[in-house]
Symmetry: C2
Subunit: 240 residues, 2 copies
C-alpha cells in the first residue's frame, strides 16, 4: 500500500512540481525533493489546515485541491485573505519569517493532498542554487504584490471591479501552472467565498455574477469558470 503510494506520488512525475518554487531542483538525481519529503497528507474539504496562532515547524506544498487563508472577526464576520492553489506553499511566509505565528487560519476548500517538509530542509533546497533563490524571491514578490493589490481592490473598487480582479488573479496564477485551457479553469469557490474574499455579501455577489453572465463576460457553472471576453473583463476590472 505504502510503496504503491510512494511510486504514484513520485516527485519527478508530479505535474505540479515543475511549477512549484522548488521546480528547478525537482528533477535532480538523487531527487532531493522526494528524499526530504516527510509525508503526504490527505485532508477533507472544509477542514482547518493551520489554525490562527500556530507556529508551524513544517512547510507544505499543495499538490491537489484548493485552500484559503481566512481571518475571523467578531460577530460571524470573516475575511478571506487569499487562496492557495495547487503548486503553492500553504505558508510561504514561514520560509522568510522564522517561527512565524499565523495571524490567520488556513482552511481547505476541497479535499487536499499536501506534501510536507521540514522548514530547514526546504530552505536549504530553495537556496541551493542561484536559479532557486531567484524562484523563491520572485514567488515572494508576486505574493507581496498580490496582497497589495488586494488592499487597493477592497479600498477603492466597487463590487464588479473586485470580483473581476479576483477572477483575473486566479486565472493568472492557475495559468502559470498550466491549469487553464482556453481561459477556462476549475473554480471550486462558492459565492460565499467570493463574498468573503471581496468584502461583499453573498446576495450581492450573486447579483453581480448574474450581471456578468448576462453581459457575456464569464461563464460560471458549479466548480468551473470560463472567461468569455478577456479584454473586456480586464477593462471592467480596471474601471470598477
Amino acid at each position: 500500500m505504502d510503496s504503491i503510494a510512494v511510486k504514484t506520488d513520485a516527485c519527478e512525475r508530479c505535474a505540479l512540481g515543475a511549477f512549484a518554487v522548488y521546480g528547478p531542483t525537482r528533477l535532480g538525481t538523487p531527487n532531493q525533493i522526494e528524499l526530504r519529503r516527510l509525508s503526504i497528507r490527505h485532508i477533507g474539504a472544509r477542514q482547518i489546515v493551520l489554525a490562527e496562532g500556530e507556529v508551524p515547524d513544517r512547510i507544505s506544498t499543495l499538490r491537489m485541491g484548493w485552500a484559503f487563508r481566512q481571518k475571523e472577526l467578531s460577530g460571524r464576520r470573516r475575511q478571506i485573505l487569499s487562496f492557495v492553489v495547487p503548486g503553492d506553499f500553504i505558508l510561504l511566509e514561514s520560509l522568510v519569517v522564522a517561527k512565524y505565528r499565523l495571524p490567520y487560519s488556513v482552511k481547505s476548500l476541497t479535499p487536499l493532498t499536501l506534501c510536507d517538509f521540514a522548514i530547514g530542509d526546504m530552505l536549504q533546497i530553495v537556496q541551493s542554487t542561484e536559479e532557486q533563490r531567484d524562484a523563491l524571491s520572485s514567488s515572494i514578490g508576486r505574493y507581496a504584490t498580490a496582497l497589495n493589490r488586494r488592499i487597493s481592490d477592497l479600498g477603492r473598487r466597487n463590487a464588479v471591479g473586485r470580483i473581476a480582479q479576483l477572477i483575473l488573479e486566479l486565472e493568472g496564477r492557475l495559468a502559470r501552472r498550466n491549469l487553464v485551457q482556453n481561459h477556462a479553469f476549475e473554480f471550486p469557490l462558492r459565492q460565499e467565498h467570493i463574498a468573503d474574499a471581496t468584502g461583499l455579501t453573498g446576495a450581492h455577489v450573486n447579483r453581480v455574477l448574474s450581471e456578468m453572465r448576462k453581459n457575456d463576460l464569464i461563464d460560471l457553472v458549479p466548480r468551473r469558470l470560463r472567461i468569455l471576453d478577456y479584454e473586456r473583463l480586464v477593462r471592467v476590472a480596471e474601471e470598477g
Copy 2:
C-alpha cells in the same frame, strides 16, 4: 559643512537607529552602519520618493518624517497601502525580493531625512548575527501581519472600525520607537490621507472623526493625536 553634517548625524547618536532593524549592529566599533551609509538625503513634503515600476538598487531608512505607500487607480482614485514612520525601511521588500519591481509608489507626507545604503551592504549587516537575523525576520513578520490585517479591515469593518484600527496600528508602531508619550503622538495625516488609507471619502472620515471626538475617544488637533480612552478605542476597533 559635510563634516559637521556627518557628526551631527552620527549613527551612534541617532535616536531611531536603536529601533531600526539594524539596531543590534548600530553601536559596534567600527560603526558598520555609518561606514556603509552612502548618503543622507533630505526630501520635501509631497514628493515621490520611489515611483511605481522602479527597481531600486538602494535601500533607505527613514530617519525623520513620515511617508506612505500608495497605489493610483484609474479615475483619480488612490489607495494608501501603508505608512512609513521613522525607523522604518522605506522598502523592506527589497531585502527579501531581489530586484523587486515596485507595484506602488512611495510619497513623502512631511519633509524627510533618509539614510541610504546599498542593498547588498544592508543585507550583509542584517544577516551578520543571529540577533540581526531575528530582528529582520520579526520585522518582516510584523509587516506581513499588518498587510493582512489591513485586508480584513477594508473587507469587513465599517468606517469607525477601520479608522480606529488605523490609529491603533500607528500608535503601536510608534510606541515601539519611543515616539509616543501617554498615548499622544505626532500625526501628520490629513483627513484625506485617512480616507485613502481606509477606503473612505474625506467627508465621511470627517464625520466619523467628529463622532469619535464627541465620544471622548481621541483628541485630534492638526499634526497631533492623543488616544483618550485606549480600552474603549480597542473595543470600538474590534466591533466596528
